[in-house]
C-alpha cells in the first residue's frame, strides 16, 4: 500500500511534488495576466514591478531586517504557544476533573477575538516585544490545547499497560510510547498554528511595533504604495513556503516513515 511518491530519491528536493514545483510559475503567470488586464500599475502592480521592489529592499537590507524581525516573533510565539498549549492540552486530556474545570476557560479564550487580546496586552504590559509575543501566544494557546487534548484522549491504553508491565522509565515511555502517538496531533497543531500565528503577528506589528513586515505594510499603506505592500507580504510568504517544504514536511515524513514502510 506504499505510495509511489515515497520512493523517490534521498534528497529533500526530489520529494517535492511537481505540482508544488510548478506552483510559483503558475502563480506568477496568472498574476501577470491579471495585472495586464487591470492595467493600473498603482493599484495592481505586475509581478515585474513587485520583483524590482523586493530586489531594491533586499539590496538596502531593509527587507532582511523586517522579515527577520517578523520571523523571530513568529518563532518565539510559536514555541511558547506550542509548549504551553501542549502542557494544558495533555493535562486536560489525561485528567477528567481538570478538564471539567478547564473546559469553559478554554472555550472562553478560544472565542476571544485576537484584536482584543492584542490591545489589552499592549495596555497592560506596555508597547514592548514581550507584550507582542504574549498577545500572539495567548491567541494560539487554546487551539493547540484543544488539538493536543484530543491527542491525549486517544492514547492507546494497551500500550500504556505494556509500558507499565515492562517497567519502562518515564523518560522512555514519553519518548517511545507517548510522543510517537501525539506526533500527528502535534504536527497538525503546529501546521495550523504557524499559519495563524504569522497573520496575528502582522496585526500586532501594525498596532504597536517599529519593525517587522506588519509595520512595513502599515507604513506603505499610508503612502498608498501597493507594490511595496505586496513585496513585503510576498517575501514573507516565500519564507513560510520554504519553511513548510524544506523543514516541516521532511520532518513529518521522517517521523511517519513507519507508516509507509513496506
Amino acid at each position: 500500500m506504499s505510495k509511489p511518491n515515497n520512493q523517490g530519491g534521498a534528497s529533500g528536493f526530489s520529494r517535492i511534488s511537481p505540482a508544488a514545483l510548478l506552483f510559483p510559475f503558475l502563480f506568477i503567470g496568472v498574476w501577470y495576466v491579471a495585472a495586464g488586464l487591470a492595467g493600473n500599475e498603482t493599484t495592481f502592480p505586475s509581478p515585474v514591478t513587485v520583483g524590482k521592489i523586493i530586489l531594491a529592499e533586499a539590496r538596502s537590507g531593509a527587507l532582511f531586517i523586517h522579515v527577520g524581525a517578523t520571523l523571530a516573533r513568529v518563532a518565539a510565539a510559536f514555541v511558547i504557544a506550542m509548549a504551553v498549549g501542549c502542557a494544558i492540552g495533555l493535562w486536560m486530556g489525561r485528567n477528567r476533573g481538570i478538564n471539567r474545570w478547564g473546559d469553559p476557560w478554554l472555550v472562553f479564550f478560544l472565542n476571544m477575538p485576537a484584536l482584543v487580546t492584542i490591545v489589552l496586552c499592549y495596555i497592560w504590559i506596555g508597547l514592548t516585544e514581550a507584550a507582542a509575543i504574549t498577545a500572539v501566544a495567548i491567541n494560539k494557546i487554546p487551539m493547540v490545547a484543544v488539538m493536543m487534548r484530543e491527542g491525549a484522549r486517544t492514547l492507546d491504553p494497551g500500550l500504556n499497560d505494556m509500558a507499565r508491565v515492562f517497567r519502562m522509565t518515564p523518560a522512555a515511555r514519553l519518548a517511545h510510547v507517548v510522543i510517537p502517538q501525539l506526533a500527528p496531533h502535534f504536527a497538525s497543531a503546529g501546521r495550523a498554528g504557524i499559519a495563524l500565528i504569522w497573520k496575528i503577528v502582522l496585526v500586532v506589528e501594525l498596532l504597536g511595533a517599529s519593525t517587522g513586515v506588519g509595520f512595513q505594510i502599515h507604513t506603505y499603506f499610508q503612502l498608498f504604495d501597493v507594490g511595496a505592500v505586496l513585496a513585503y507580504a510576498l517575501s514573507f510568504i516565500i519564507v513560510m513556503l520554504v519553511v513548510e517544504y524544506l523543514i516541516l514536511q521532511p520532518w513529518e515524513r521522517h517521523a511517519s516513515r513507519w507508516r509507509n514502510a513496506g
Binding site: L159, D161, M162, A163, R164, V165, F166, H176, P180, R259
Partner: protein, 231 residues
C-alpha cells in the same frame, strides 16, 4: 509466585470471589473458563495493572506479559521493540529473534510483519525481559490452527529450560492440555476456582493420544474431579 484475591469488584458488581493459586518456577499453569468470567481481570491484578482489589500478590519477581493483541510500538523496529522495553543487549535480542523464527527481521516495523510474526515478537519481548513470572492472555487467538500449533510448540521450546512461572489464559482445552502442567478452571458468578486438573504426562511425551485423554479429563462429565490442593 502466589496470588490471593479475596474479592474484586467493578463498581457494584463483584467479579472475582476468593481465588488463591500459586505457580512455581518452571511450571506452566493454564487458566480457563467461559468468556467474561474474569480471567483477564485476574491476570491484570497479578501484573500489577489493577490494584483496586482485596488480596495480595506475593513474590511475582520480574513480570512479563504477552497480551491478547501483540501490543507492539508500531513506530519502532522489531529489535527496538525488544530493546526499549526490556533493556536487553544487542546480542541477546538477536538470539531471541532467531529463537522465535524472526531472524533477519530486526529492522522491520511491526506493520511489516504478519500477525503470527507480531505474536512471536511479543513472545520474544516477554522472554527478553528475563521474567520470573510470565503472563499470557490468549496469546494464540485469531491465528489459523496450523500457525497456532506452531506457536504453541515454539512457546514450549523456549520455556523449556527456563525457570519461569508461566500462567497462560486460554479458551482452548486442547491448548491447555498440550501446554500446561496444571489446568485451573474458573467458574461461577462471582468467579472462583472450580476445578484443578494436573496433566501428568511429561511435556515431551504429549502427543495427540495423550492430548485427547487429557481433554476427556477436562470436559464436563469426564474424569475431571481433581479438586486438588491449591498449591
Amino acid at each position: 509466585m502466589q496470588v490471593e484475591v479475596r474479592h474484586k469488584k467493578f463498581g457494584g458488581a463483584q467479579i472475582l470471589d476468593w481465588i488463591e493459586m500459586s505457580v512455581g518456577a518452571g511450571e506452566i499453569v493454564a487458566l480457563t473458563g467461559p468468556s467474561g468470567i474474569g480471567k483477564t481481570t485476574l491476570l491484570r491484578i497479578i501484573a500489577g495493572l489493577d490494584r483496586d482489589f482485596e488480596g495480595a500478590v506475593t513474590d511475582p519477581g520480574r513480570i512479563a506479559m504477552v497480551f491478547q493483541s501483540p501490543t507492539l510500538m508500531p513506530w519502532r523496529s522489531a529489535a527496538d521493540n525488544l530493546r526499549l522495553t526490556t533493556g536487553a543487549e544487542r546480542a541477546s535480542i538477536d538470539r531471541l529473534l532467531d529463537e522465535v523464527g524472526l531472524e533477519g527481521k530486526a529492522k522491520f516495523f511491526p506493520g511489516q510483519l504478519s500477525l503470527g510474526q507480531q505474536r512471536r515478537l511479543a513472545l520474544a519481548r516477554a522472554l527478553a525481559a528475563n521474567p520470573a513470572t510470565l503472563l499470557m492472555d490468549e496469546p494464540f487467538i485469531s491465528l489459523d490452527e496450523e500457525t497456532a500449533a506452531r506457536m504453541r510448540r515454539l512457546t514450549m521450546k523456549v520455556l523449556e529450560g527456563r525457570r519461569i512461572a508461566t500462567l497462560i489464559v486460554t479458551h482452548d482445552l486442547v491448548e491447555a492440555a498440550t501446554l500446561a502442567d496444571r489446568v485451573v478452571m474458573l467458574g461461577g458468578r462471582p468467579a472462583a476456582i472450580e476445578t484443578i486438573v494436573p496433566i501428568t504426562t511429561p511435556r515431551a511425551r504429549r502427543d495427540a493420544v495423550t492430548e485427547a485423554a487429557a481433554l476427556r479429563a477436562l470436559t464436563p462429565g469426564g474424569a475431571g474431579n481433581a479438586h486438588g490442593n491449591l498449591t
